[in-house]
Amino acid sequence: MANILHVCCIRFKLCDKLKISLITSVKYLDQVMAMLGVDMVSRLTETYLSLTDSVEDDFELSTVCHRPESMDKLQEQTKFTKKELQVLYRGFKNECPSGVVNEENFKNIYSQFFPQGDSSMYAHFLFEAFDTNKNGSVSFEDFVFGLSIILRGTINDRLNWAFNLYDLNKDGCITKEEMLDIMKSIYDMMGKYTYPTMQDDAPREHVESFFQKMDRNKDGVVTIDEFIESCKKDENIMQSMQLFDNVI
């Protein structure tokens, strides 16, 4: 039964979200009906349909199409101008014709900027940070919202976003382990061929110095307030935050 509906959805090219919700509800119904034993007919038609369309199914499923909201709405919600949105979307759509980026694609794209090292871990963290609704894919809206904060947000916004990136389990504080993971992923991007040669404990040492700087009350974790406060006090970090003003 669920499969029939599935096929019908594909036939009528219903939108992804609608399809998913429809299918889940029907699946539940299907289970109920199966318990009652009223699924003979559906099973027969299922098999018939599956015989004829099995290959098609797979193909159709993979070309999911997602359309972003209109440009006006996006313009209201973000701080980009129309032209900037156009440029961003064109680049986005070029690389992801289906309208959404999944993690593998994301990692692929990001790795092309860092050919010497392994950027997959850092890309994974970035993906987690961009994917605000945790559905496993980054749509154009997510993409643009994230960029809007980083490139057009206030210092507080940016620092908030960075904290969000570091806080892997989103519990409001950064532990040394989380920081170590982040640090390792950053150092991995450098690759093997560096000068001076990469020591194995470089990330750990860096984490130590970071915590020394950031952790005010020395409780082993860095909270958002500590983070923002310490960053604001640091000249270098403030200056580097200015870099993002004219990236696009």
Binding site: G91, E95, I109, L147, M214, N236, S240, L243
Partner: protein
């Protein structure tokens, strides 16, 4: 750089926010953007077809023509677009490369046209995507083979060497029988003798009737033993002489001795010599008889005479792996089935399957669907397995055969193409030469007409010739050639006259007297080109053109010092005899020290014998 994802660069830079708080040192300054990203549309007009794209799309690949400032050279101010006078169909693919980051090769395009376009736009072909790369490489290889064949033709035909050593001449005669009549004769004679020898080998085994005092039939070979022996000797003599000559003439003797053909030659003549050397001993006569078998290898000598045989041999060589596979699988199957048949037929009485090797014969005959019938299974089990054997035989043999056939077909067609090209080549070259001659003749005519028109205008101030003016391109081209002539103090001539002159010069050199075609003139000239003022000849010039040109003689300069060449005084010209249309040439000696006096007819001969570059103007 990942130019394909260049659009994501802002994202990558934004993602660097994650590094900022953990960085311990200040970040470097960002690059200054000279011009704020003008993300405008660019119009590319390729032979009328307009393509439009974003500027940033093109700038993804800055080391190509379109992505760098090189495209500014093609900017057309009036229409505010970039104009390229190239093929729009192929340009489509090139532009797609900028858009998608993948270069595709269209199958219907000619490979060299495509390569040219890629080279023009500065794109290396190695980035063609995987989907099209194989096809591209195949086509390229085909084209290269074709070109190589052509070049080889060129090398073989155009090398008309004048001074070959005897050895090189001999080698060339052997390899290319068409070069000289002697070679051709030798080629046919050897072919004839090969045929004779092979036929003699065959005929001497035919039974030829009985001897008067015996009842057994004897073969012709034994009956006319002396005749056959003489024939054999003659053939072997010829073959030996041929082999020795080839050995002498070969440029690399070691390589020659290693080659297949020479091995065949040796094997063909060895049995005879071994037979001569060995005594008529009974024990070795058995071995001697075996050696006679090798005489049949003479038939392989025909492969020098037949291209088809060579192709077959080449095919077998190139399909060696398929043949090997065929052999291996057949062997496996034979062993399996022979074993099975042996054990199946073991029980039956009077079966011919006495051992497994004996069963091999049955298996082979069955698998190749020959079925002689000298060994047949009698038990039911044997019959069952026998039928399976014959069915599988068909399959096993049928599998590699198409590969071999297709290889043969490919090579054969290639050689056919080569033959066709060779045949067409002559007419092609003739046509090309004719076109070139037309071009040079046009230039000659221009020279005569043009200069004469000038002179006439000088003299009489009237334009005589009602000839249509030549198009500006041609006239500029002619002017250019004229300037070149003036620069080098030489003139252009056409081929026949040049060759004729070469012959003339060689003849003249031998006789040492050139009085017939020389005459000195009292006039001296300061310019290379002397002009003759001759009204009458303006109309008859085209006909006298050839005659004039035939007397132009140019000779190479053996002397080392060249300071005098261009600045030497030209001291002689030829006066045009007003009543004769035939214009004799003037001889100009360019050697400064040997300045002949302006009078004296005979002095030119002496000057000429020591002459350097001689330029003759026949105007």
């Amino acid at each position: 750089m990942a130019a394909g994802v260049a659009a994501w660069l802002p994202f990558a830079r934004a993602a660097a926010i994650g590094w900022m708080p953990v960085a311990s040192t200040p970040m470097p300054m960002p690059p200054q953007e000279k011009r704020k990203a003008q993300d405008g549309l660019i119009i590319l007009n390729v032979s009328g077809t307009k393509f439009q794209t974003w500027r940033t799309t093109l700038e993804r690949y800055p080391d190509t023509l379109l992505g760098s400032t090189e495209r500014d050279f093609f900017f057309h101010e009036e229409t505010n677009e970039y104009f390229f006078d190239r093929d729009p169909d192929i340009f489509r693919h090139i532009l797609n490369f900028y858009r998608t980051g993948k270069l595709h090769y269209p199958r219907q395009e000619c490979i060299s046209a495509y390569d040219e376009e890629l080279a023009f736009f500065g794109i290396i072909p190695e980035i063609i995507g995987d989907c099209c790369y194989e096809e591209y490489k195949d086509r390229r290889r085909e084209n290269a083979e074709r070109l190589q064949d052509d070049e080889e033709m060129d090398m073989n035909n155009d090398v008309t060497p004048v001074n070959l050593t005897f050895r090189e001449y001999l080698w060339r005669a052997f390899e290319n029988p068409h070069t000289s009549t002697l070679a051709l004769v030798f080629y046919y004679v050897t072919g004839f003798f090969i045929a004779i020898s092979v036929m003699a080998n065959v005929v001497e085994t035919v039974p030829c009737g009985t001897l008067p005092n015996r009842s057994k039939e004897i073969s012709c070979g034994d009956r006319y033993a002396l005749a056959f022996f003489c024939l054999d000797t003659a053939c072997v003599m010829i073959f030996t002489v041929e082999y020795l000559l080839r050995l002498i003439a070969a440029p690399s003797r070691y390589k020659f001795m290693k080659s297949v053909m020479s091995v065949i030659d040796v094997v063909a003549i060895m049995p005879y010599y071994i037979g001569l050397v060995m005594t008529d001993n009974d024990q070795v006569s058995g071995a001697f008889v075996t050696l006679r078998v090798f005489r049949v290898f003479r038939i392989f000598k025909f492969s020098r005479h037949s291209a088809g045989l060579r192709i077959l041999g080449y095919t077998l060589k190139s399909c060696a792996s398929e043949l090997g596979f065929l052999l291996f699988s057949l062997t496996m199957a034979i062993i399996i089935f022979a074993t099975v048949m042996f054990y199946a037929e073991k029980g039956s009485t009077g079966s011919k399957f006495t051992s497994i090797p004996a069963a091999f014969w049955y298996t082979i005959v069955t698998m190749t669907t020959l079925g002689y019938g000298d060994m047949v299974p009698k038990t039911i089990v044997g019959k069952v397995f026998g039928s399976i054997c014959s069915l599988s035989g068909v399959l096993v043999i049928a599998l590699p055969v198409p590969v071999i056939v297709s290889n043969f077909s490919r090579i054969y067609h290639q050689s056919q193409r080569a033959e066709k090209r060779r045949a067409q080549r002559k007419t092609r070259l003739a046509r090309i030469r004719a076109a070139k001659i037309r071009g040079t003749n046009a230039y000659m005519r221009y020279k005569q007409n043009g200069l004469l028109i000038d002179s006439l205008e000088e003299e009489a101030g009237q334009a005589l010739v009602g000839k249509a003016p030549s198009p500006p391109f041609e006239s500029q081209h002619h002017h250019l050639l004229h300037c070149l002539e003036k620069t080098t103090n030489h003139e252009f001539v056409d081929e026949q006259t040049f060759q004729a002159n070469c012959m003339d010069i060689s003849v003249m050199n031998k006789t040492g007297s050139r009085a017939s075609s020389l005459s000195s003139s009292p006039h001296g000239l300061g310019s290379c080109c002397s002009r003759r003022h001759r009204k009458k000849s303006s109309f008859s010039l085209p006909s006298t053109n050839n005659q004039e040109l035939s007397t132009i003689q140019i000779r190479e300069r053996p002397v080392a010092n060249s300071r005098a060449s261009l600045n030497a005084k030209l001291d002689e010209t030829v006066p045009l005899k007003c009543d004769e249309p035939y214009i004799t040439p003037s001889m100009v000696s360019l050697s400064a020290p040997v300045v002949t006096s302006s009078d004296g007819d005979g002095s030119t001969t002496t000057a000429y014998s020591q002459s350097n570059i001689v330029r003759v103007s026949a105007l």
